[in-house]
């Protein structure tokens, strides 16, 4: 149990007896009832051979997000490996460190340092007071530095990804604010608050990233406003005026920029527009950088991606190797 299974390196015939996370359980009813399980750790994931209905006692009680000890053998299935499991046994939560189960951004200190520096530069007392409700709260910080930027296959889908994304948005938004002569302090506040709803819309503690029921039924955009409302309501004294709170709520609500992307209102202030641009720029450029780094899309230094990339509206991306005369390593 000491060692992490290197999933991408598995070959047919290899034995498995390792702790793995149940990343997904796919129950199919109807004409050919069966269940398959996707197992994962931080190195990758592998799908089980099907457990046919009636012959699936072994996985009775197994659910998404459980940590299990799996015993089995890798077999080849067409152009994939699959895991033919003979035993799937629950392990106590926490018996394997979370960082072994999912990818992570690594140490988060530099991110906090940047954020706290910018918070400290805010001169408006009521703006600082609002931000302190979250950012001066240790419980909030612990959650925020763990939360992924998205569950599954979106951008920044790593432990700490939300924090990293926040910093990227902050850096970009500050620059646009300077150019556009916007209210920089308000933009900082917008950046720091825009995605707080993700804390209750995503789950990650088990090692299986997922969207919570609240995430599906309310969504992180509106949930952010709910959490801000709640924090302000619970404050000893109102940290800001109602009109000011309204401006902050608008920043959160409009950050997706368009109704069809899930913002119930379009950005109506300069600061809201800036927040939207910076958020989108961080998300899209991170998606490209992740695609460039992925052996799935760009194996062997390919120029054109091997397939369309859905996170990027189905584009075939291109990786330029033009040096323009620079020496390698410049």
């Amino acid at each position: 149990m000491a060692q992490i299974l290197d999933i991408p390196a598995l070959a047919p015939g290899d034995d498995v007896h390792h702790p793995l996370v149940v990343a997904d359980v796919d129950v199919r009813g109807g004409d050919h009832a069966r269940t398959t399980i996707t197992f994962s750790n931080r190195t990758g994931q592998i799908v089980s051979a099907p457990f046919w209905a009636g012959r699936d006692e072994m996985i009775r009680g197994v659910a998404k997000g459980m940590l299990v000890q799996v015993v089995g053998k890798v077999t080849a299935y067409r152009d994939c490996n699959q895991l033919d499991a003979v035993s799937v046994r629950a392990l106590p939560k926490g018996s394997v460190p979370l960082a072994d189960l999912v990818p992570s951004v690594g140490a988060v200190d530099k991110y906090w340092q940047f954020i706290d520096e910018k918070r400290a530069e805010i001169t408006a007392p009521r703006l600082r007071a609002v931000l302190d409700l979250c950012y001066a709260d240790d419980a909030f910080r612990q959650q925020y530095e763990a939360c992924p930027g998205s569950p599954g296959t979106g951008h920044h889908a790593r432990l700490g990804g939300l924090l990293q994304h926040t910093c990227e948005v902050l850096a970009i938004a500050l620059q646009i604010s300077r150019v556009a002569k916007a209210d920089i302090e308000l933009v900082i506040a917008g950046v720091l608050l825009h995605d707080i709803g993700k804390l209750e819309c995503y789950s990650w503690e088990s090692g299986a990233f997922d969207t919570t029921e609240r995430g599906r039924l309310v969504g992180h955009v509106v949930q952010g406003v709910i959490m801000l409302q709640r924090a302000i309501a619970q404050a000893a004294s109102p940290p800001c005026t109602e009109a000011e709170q309204l401006i902050l709520e608008h920043l959160i609500l409009s950050h997706h920029g368009k109704l069809e992307f899930g913002s119930p209102v379009k950005p109506l202030t300069l600061e809201a527009e800036i927040l939207h641009f910076a958020d989108d720029a961080s998300a899209k450029t991170a998606s490209i950088a992740e695609a460039y780094a992925s052996r799935e899309f760009f194996p062997d230094g390919a120029g054109v991606s091997t397939r369309k990339i859905w996170q990027l509206d189905g584009r075939w991306m291109f990786k330029s190797k033009a040096s323009f005369g620079r020496e390698p390593g410049d």
Copy 2:
């Protein structure tokens, strides 16, 4: 001051000295700076001749929603009358009954009776408890029975229009629920809560219907959820579980049916889908009925409307006179 000015009956040359509401103030800066004011009462509205910049002392301080005593004369301007005002003087708020200033649905008892009857049929204690937070509260009822269904030119744009619309949605939703074997009690709750956000997103007390800043920056869809959250937070004890509250929030949030219509999430439950259909059916059929009744769109029993109707996606509507052999009056 006793009598209401009959605006549609005005002709050039008529004198005006009557109380009117300032329905709109249109300040135009730039190359030809000037202000025009739209005056209204429940019979209609009339636009002033322009007050040119530099010659507009008479309207200093006049703002949307004020009640004013206007003295002037009607003049002809191309294919409209305009009001050439020589005096515009503020009147104390409340010196003219609101019902003289804006159209209204009339007595609201029958609407309350229907709603309260349906509330009483709910057997789920926690659902009733949530609804009581609003519907057993006199302040809420007073606001709710006054609020228009929309500001300006949308459907049910009358005092009490929201209450009337709620009853229409309720009647339709109950029937769809029966057909679809949905959870009828949950649908009732959804109907009664779906538009509560309008109370803080529209203003009407002055006699000039308007959208509040909260209405623009947050919108009534999200505002409904905020108000529900607040009401539950302020209750002596939690009227329902968190999971149940989530279901109610989803009903409110998804009632516009599509992201591009301002719902940040699509309806994901049968009950949410029903609520959306019933809401839309009430709104659209009311818009048609209002167009049919309007002399602007259907003067003199016209068959085809005289112009496109924007509330109905720009359709030219048609009013059938086919009797199919029925006697008039059947």
Copy 3:
């Protein structure tokens, strides 16, 4: 041959010698020519192993909609069963009751009772006369009570589904009509006529639901108008005026509500709008109810559907279990 094969209960190794319908024949030409056959009965369907080109004498002459006696064995193919047939022999049409071959809504009396009751309430003589052309005709009624609401995987895809759908639309449309003060009799007529085109656009007699060539090349919306025209032309004397007929044609033509959904004209009358809403509400809520009831989408009382549901614009639906304090069984 007495007993119906329970397809969902089949397991690899099981023997099959049962009557089945040829639900689909998939001939693939080109580089790897082969044919597969989907066999079905009312319990479900199963796909054959491929018959390779040149080795497919056994299925010579087998076509969609044939009733065949199949002898073979069930084998496992990855995550499905498939049927390895060794004999496929045509059976005489009608040798197995249709109700054993396809799902059905069951007894239809209650549906007819509701429809005939509403027809009887119509006071307009010429409207009744038009409806009688269809609804007082036994041949029409026999077809209408059998026709599915849609072929394949749409809503109400069962024998009698069209009749059931008609009743749902009727119930909903009546209620909206009351709320909107529409011409209820005209709405009833619209509901009863709106889908008559399906009788010539779908086929079901063989046990394999399908779209006819007319269904593809003309579509049920326009076909309904053609059938109405024909029925009126063949009547002994004109049952209504030309202007009245036009109103009815418009109801049929516009019932899909939008051009992009296949209505060549948008609803231009209040009654047409109501019909569209009621039709859509019945279709969409039935789709949700069918998804809720399906073990494919909601196995084991799952909260979130196991996959996107294309009939519902690709939504992941959610099944709430909130009781709000009701006792089970309330």
Copy 4:
């Protein structure tokens, strides 16, 4: 009364006592009730000064499409002339030749010659038989050679415009058919039938082009199919098989190419696709040619059109004067 009023040449102060068509009556109810009338003849149109409600006895009974003798004077209104009428008196229908009242394509013989030549080349007996139902019928031909290609401001909006458009579509479709090796005879039939519905969807006899109620509520696409059905039903013996009739119906129904352009089905055969392309090419190039020829869009040999052209999706069109070295007159 002998001479046609030259409307574009009118100047303020000119007297009018001429026969004119009532091209439109715009009744405005509501706050400033009044009526304006648009008068026209084949040279152009002019709008009346408003007739105010209560002072409009002179136009009692005047309706769209009436021929009237107008007495009045031209006055200037901002950047338009208007007609200040002192008498508007009905004239007997037909007292002025239709060709003096509306623009026309002129002699139609050459169009008939082309069409009849192509009909004569058809070898398929049943295809000729179907076309003869229309094209060998004198009443049909008389209507068809008068009908405009569109009412109001669309393409080919002239007496005979439909016939001219039909010839253009025919010439283009024949060429595409040759290139695509399509069934040319079927394409000819499709061209000759595709717009027959316009005969009952447009009106022009009065001198005021308009869309009929049938045109609004059913549309010429579906109306074409209805008319074909009727013609075939009334034939002494069926001119073609049902399967063949279906192919022709599909050609008519799909000729707008897309659902959102009013075809309830997309073109599914090669011949239907060709018909759609040829129809669209004739319509769009005619719109451009008409814009090029219009002094409104291209006064004084302008290069860029003076405004966006809505018939061409709001494009600013451009008229090239590049000679590439040709002598003028080449």
Copy 5:
């Protein structure tokens, strides 16, 4: 002639005898032929009373972009002033400084300094060589520092606006590049080249901003590539490889981000995506800042804009006055 006419300050009755630019000539043919002229200088613009056809000798030969001496009187027309001209006489080009005729960004040194600093930081010799083709060329620089960012009513529509916009894009793009770890030198090159096509697509020398024929028929996106090709072809020796040139062409071509916004290809490299975001952020935030500063949209410190702003997709923008406790002047 020494003094610039203060157009926004004009009032009816004022005399005009000043040099003005012919900003637009609107010739209307058809039924009421007449011409109106829009006159402008850097303070604003005013429209002439109509010159009726036949009475317009005074403006014979007057064309868009001419500098003219206008004599006339201001008259009131409804809610605008208009200029009743009695003499319109051509002045020699250049007799009034361009900066008196159109708005300008002022001194451009700081913009050049920023750009040249960034150019100097580029280490890739072939990238610098390409940029030098433009940016080391004095003729190019003179044009580039004058060209507006857009003609008419778009963003940065001032002399020097293109240069200012380029700097804004550069500042933003540099920051996104750092965050996304992109090739910063390539991004700088993309920024400096992306809008060079505007030099041949806009005209401004006369004092009337306009789009050239090339601007309409080719567009600045493609024109930029054409100009880059030409510059490289004319260079003494090829400044970069063909593959490198391709990467630069792609940056220019894709900078509008989407096909429907006029880019014939979508951004396929990280650097192209960044350029697109930075360009869009500069354009949109400038549009908001310009709206905020405009007395037309925000007179008298209004919170909500007085009308929809088309440059911002028809949004009603909002100007927050929330101080969050800051002292005025912070």
Copy 6:
């Protein structure tokens, strides 16, 4: 090696030792790294069994477009054959004639004859001069007569397909031009130039059709303009004026008709609109004809296609067999 392998006729068990083209190499990284190769010749294509990572020495260095000698055996994989290769060895380029490796339109003389005939009819000297830059150049002609109309699965995807497509567009465009009274010579020029960019955007010499990097990053629409610019710049003397060149560039740029189809500008001249229609008509009707002829979509004279056809916007096409009484062979 003399004989071409008949790929569609292969059956499991067959031996292969034949020259084949590497049509595609699909490298998949990530959790189950492996490579598959698609081999092709003019009869069709077959996919290899996967080469697993670590066991793929045999295909080291094999790249798209290589000509290889393959030794292996055909095996069955579910509903396809696959090729289990035991040796893949590079062959010298050109050792197999290109016409054996890819489909072709056959002899091209008739196409050239038609084009050269039309060129000869052009009277405008400067138009001929421009066309001669390409069409009087042997190198251009050799490339042009080989280039496919599209790479992969689009229309005219055969050697010589571009030339064939050009002739189709020419024939159609000439006819529309006659109907619309357009400048026929200009239209001819537009047709002959519109797709010249494909010469540098597609590659075909190896026997594997592909899109070049220039094809992806610039696209053939813009590339055509670049090539025209270059040809004109390199001419001994300018063959036409700049204004004339602009008109030609616009024809090329706008030939896709809409921004969302990759034209950066919409057609603004009559001739550009005609070119767009003719191009689209040739492309779409060729796609239908190719689908009709394909055993994949229409095996065994099927009426309805066996699946949706993506080249035709996902339509299910229909092949009519209506004879309308013609004798077979008419």
